[in-house]
Symmetry: C2
Subunit: 111 residues, 2 copies
DNA sequence: TATATTTATCGTAATATTGCAATATAGTAT
DNA sequence: ATACTATATTGCAATATTACGATAAATATA
């Protein structure tokens, strides 16, 4: 069938899964890391940085933009992309709330 | 083509993407949350908890097991699953290291 | 031994993702 | 207007993921 049964899960579960999906490709990780390390907002010379075709980069940027992790503004002929701090923190907290749920008590190994 | 060009990216980027992929499905989030909240290790009455078929649950469990986030030990006729604390913390740090990379300086909005 | 019970695996269908060439769109400059 | 540059979109092929029925494997119980 190939279609996720979203109605079986909570809103939070579906949202976290959707956020995780954006991180589930090394190109998008690389794009985010590039945006982090470059102080100025950066456009599609990601094509140079990563070895992917322009169309492919554009597609990854759209996925990042669709979930709201990055935003872009037209800067002359090119587009300036950057991380959206608000969404960034929001997603960060979604993840850390999941991770924090497991209390790593020493020797609590059950199997 | 549909195949990820892993060789274009760093080992760390590929690893984080692979970890994220495991979180990129609400059923696996739900399984992890169930394992977190249940103090005792739990087997496949996840079939009851989630509304998915037994074969589907088993498949999700395998993906979680393959990356090392959970481990299972045979307990009579059933299998006892639980979170692997070591891997859990490892993945947690992989994520938080990415998130921490972006310094949310007030008003640093560039676009 | 025969019979449940529990979990894993196989096979398959439906859908999603990845990647790119080709093309479209939009701004800039000549 | 024409040419150039940067980015987005479309269409398509290759591959991956999701889900489940059917079946296998392993253990317990009568």
């Amino acid at each position: 069938m190939g279609v996720t049964k979203s109605d079986l899960f909570t809103e939070k579960q579906n949202e976290l899964a959707k956020a995780a999906k954006v991180f589930a490709h090394p190109a998008r990780i690389a794009i985010l890391e590039y945006l982090i390390q470059s102080t100025t907002c950066i456009n599609g010379d990601l094509v140079q940085e990563l070895g992917l075709a322009q169309a492919t980069i554009s597609q990854h940027l759209r996925e990042l933009k669709e979930i709201g992790l990055i935003k872009g503004s037209i800067e002359g002929v090119s587009v300036c992309y950057c991380i959206d701090p608000t969404k960034w923190v929001e997603v960060q907290q979604q993840f850390s709330s999941l991770f924090a749920g497991f209390p790593k008590i020493a020797g609590k190994d059950c199997c």
